[in-house]
Every structure is written in C-alpha cells, then in structure tokens.
C-alpha cells in the first residue's frame, strides 16, 4: 500500500487515481473533524470539498520531506476557522444533535447523548489554540510532533496547549466528570 506522501507526489505528477485514494482515506476523518463543531452536514460536506480543492490547487506546494497528514489537517483547520470567522459565530453545539435525543436506545443512550452534548459544549468554549491541539491529537490520532509541524509550533508547545485545554475541559465539565468517574462502565465500552 502506498503511503500518503507517495500518493500526494503521484498526484502532483499527474496520477488522478492517487487523489481518489487520498479522498477515500481522509474524507471520513475530515468530515468528522468538521461535524464535531458544526453539526450541519451540508456545511461540513462543503468544507471537506473545499479542503480537497485546496489540496488539488496546492499540490505543487507539497514538500515530500514533510508528512502529508499534518499538512492536510492544517488546510482543513484553516478553512474551518475561516468558516466560523466569516459567519461571525462560535462553533455550534446543538443543531442535528437534537435529532439524536429522539432516537430509541433507553437510559444508557440518553446518558451517552448528554455526555456527548456536554463535551461538545465544553470544547466549543475553550480557546481555539487548545481545542485544535486536542482535536488533532485525540480525535484524529496525530502525534504531538505531527501537530507541531502542522501548526508551526514546537512539540513542547503543542503538549502545553493540550494540557491547558484538558484543564479547562475538566473545569467546564465538572459534574459530568464526577458522574463518569463514579460509573466507569457506563456504556462507552471503557
């Protein structure tokens, strides 16, 4: 299997199939990244499409000595930030989540929904520089070295941002965390 970097180089060299392979690898991850605060599929789809268009336009800018993944995520996060700035609004926490409330699943599903909503609420309220690092590390699986490369900061600075973000989340989530701590097998599989 070709690496991301090999695929990007192949695409820059004219291999159109390499682009589709990159799309298949990353479209679901990018959609999750966008949906985390948008909760509006149409807007998330639009931002994912914009990300891949930017990728296409910047294909000659790709530096093969750098990792592909942080580069792609930097493009996606820049677009996401611009989207919120353009709309002059904070990331959303509700929207389509309201539909989940009505879904069947009993008390466990309801608690999981509440916890998810609380986390989305808290994530939307921590500074962007902390949120970006937590999202990239926790949800997208990037190492701190990769995040540092993508954000143009040092690896230590990335870890410090994550730590401060975790502290702020803990403060915001207060009661929710106590509930989770008191119920370690709470339907999340942990």
């Amino acid at each position: 299997m070709r690496s991301d970097e090999e695929l990007m180089l192949a695409y820059a060299g004219g291999d159109a199939a390499a682009f589709k392979e990159l799309f298949e690898r990353y479209a679901p991850k990018l959609e999750r990244l966008m949906l985390r605060e948008l909760y509006a599929k149409r807007e998330a789809d639009d931002l994912v499409q914009q990300t891949f268009l930017q990728l296409h336009r910047a294909k000659l800018d790709f530096d093969p000595s750098q990792r592909f993944r942080p580069w792609l995520y930097t493009i996606a996060l820049n677009l996401k930030r611009e989207h919120f700035r353009r709309r002059r609004r904070r990331p959303e926490v509700l929207g389509d989540l309201a539909d989940e409330r009505a879904a069947p699943g009993g008390a466990g599903a309801h608690e999981a929904f509440e916890a998810k909503r609380s986390l989305a609420w808290a994530l939307a309220r921590i500074p962007e520089e902390n949120r970006a690092v937590i999202e990239l590390h926790w949800f997208d699986g990037l190492s701190f070295a990769e995040i540092a490369q993508g954000l143009g900061i040092g690896a230590v600075a990335a870890k410090v941002r994550a730590h401060r973000g975790y502290q702020r989340l803990r403060k915001l989530l207060g009661d929710e965390l106590e509930l989770v701590a008191g119920n370690p097998r709470d339907g999340t599989g942990i």
């Binding site: 336009r57 800018d61 942990i190």
Partner: protein
C-alpha cells in the same frame, strides 16, 4: 500496559480501546507529561468522556461526485495560475505591482509639474506591501500568521500613506485646478491603476469564499500600489491633497471589499 516506555499516543489509544493505562512505563511517562496526567486523573474520567465525541461516519459517494465535478471545473488560466507554487504566485503579484507602478507612475502628469520621487516613501510602501502579501498568501498547508499580527499589518498598510502625507514638508501645489479637482483627479487615476493589480491577486488567490481580513489586506496593498504610482506621477506634495487624493484610495478599496464580502456572505 507493560513496563515498556509509552508515549502520549499510546495512552490515548489505550483509553480509546477501553483499557485503563497502568504500569511502570505509564507512571514514568506521567511524571514527565502533565497532559496525560490530566487525562488520567480521577480514574481517567476526562479521557473516557473525550472518547465519546466522534460523530458517526457519513456517506461519501455523493461528496466524491461533487469534488470530482469541482475538479473538472478547474480549467483555464485562473486554475493554472492558482495552482502554481506559492513563491511563483507571490512573484506574479509583485511583478504586477511593479508594472502598475512603472506604467502608471511614469506616465506624464497632465499638469506637467515637477516630480520629486520620495525614495523613503516608496521603500516603506514596498516593504509594507510585501509583508502584507507574505502574511496573507502563505502556502495553503502552512499555519496562518496570527490574526492580531495580520490585523496590525493591514492597519499599517492603510495608515502608512497617511503618515507619508502628514510627514510631507515644503508643500508644493502645481497650478491648474482647485484642491477638489486635483484630489479627485489623483484619486480616480490611482483607483483605476489599482484595478489591474486587484485582478491579478484575484487570479492567483486559491480561496473560493471571500474573507474579511484577506479582502482588507488585498485592498490595503492595492492602495499602497496606487500610492507608490502616484508618488512618481503627481508633483503635488500638499498634505491635504496627499491624504484625500492618494491615501484615501486604500480606505476606499477596504470599504468596497467589506461591502462585497458582506453581500456575498449574506447571500450564501
């Protein structure tokens, strides 16, 4: 987990997989990593709650179709220009600015008054313009310059021509028109010169959606280009003329840009 050394990603993976990371390797790691220590505090409650945040996978067949359609539409000179490497895109913009300043600045002034090019003013306009372009046309996958710094650059690009006007000594007013006529004449001429420059920047910009800061920055740089051309073209060094007829061009384009971004944003 065993006594092997672990890193932050392994701690995260373990929490996601539902296990409680423990052991000498984990303890060693936690002593040097405040972030992971925070995640695992209180029985790993924060780590556990973070694992719930992901949205479900979505259907991508239709999304690929629209990406494919958008890629097919990427044809023509603009598509070619905006896919050049960033240093080349910057070079194209700088060449466009030089052509505008050269052609527009060296064209004969109607009043035929004496021209005293101001090297410090020209140098300051050039420096501010390039700094602004560099901050706003950075390669797509690079982190952006902080928004506070970008705002300062835009403000500097707008204020600089006014500072140049205020600093103008020994005012020299050529004969041949009232203050208003001369100011309107320079303002119109400078604004017209800025249009081809703006067209080139639009052609190389990779964005599809108008953004407030980007529009303000490009408008301010267009103002600097017009002011640089006018420094070479207009012999009038009266501060009020320089402020109204020259420096006002940047402000005018910033206002125009804000109106345009506002309209497009509302429509979408």
């Amino acid at each position: 987990m065993s006594g092997e050394p672990v890193d932050c990603t392994e701690i995260r993976d373990a929490l996601l997989a539902g296990s409680a990371p423990a052991g000498p390797g984990v303890e060693d790691h936690l002593r040097g990593c405040e972030g992971c220590a925070e995640l695992l505090r209180g029985g790993g409650s924060l780590g556990r709650i973070l694992s719930r945040a992901d949205a479900p996978d979505a259907e991508h067949a239709t999304l690929w179709a629209s990406v494919e359609g958008a890629l097919r539409a990427e044809q023509g000179p603009r598509a070619w220009l905006r896919s050049r490497v960033t240093p080349v895109r910057l070079l194209i913009v700088v060449i466009a600015a030089l052509v505008v300043v050269g052609v527009g600045g060296l064209a004969a002034e109607p009043s035929g008054g004496p021209i005293e090019p101001h090297p410090i003013g020209l140098g300051a306009f050039t420096f501010a313009g390039i700094a602004c372009l560099w901050a706003f046309l950075t390669p797509t996958g690079r982190p952006r310059v902080r928004s506070g710094a970008r705002l300062l650059l835009v403000l500097a690009a707008l204020v600089l021509p006014f500072a140049f006007a205020v600093a103008s000594r020994a005012p020299l007013v050529p004969a041949g028109g009232s203050f208003a006529e001369l100011a309107v004449s320079c303002f119109t001429y400078g604004s017209l010169l800025a249009v081809p420059f703006l067209a080139v920047v639009w052609a190389v910009d990779r964005g599809d959606r108008p953004a407030w800061m980007l529009s303000a920055a490009i408008a301010a740089v267009a103002g600097l280009v017009a002011n640089a051309a006018l420094v070479l073209h207009c012999g009038n060094t009266e501060p009020a003329h320089l402020a109204a007829g020259h420096a006002g061009i940047g402000v005018f384009f910033v206002a125009l840009g804000a109106l345009w971004v506002g309209m497009v944003t509302r429509r979408s």
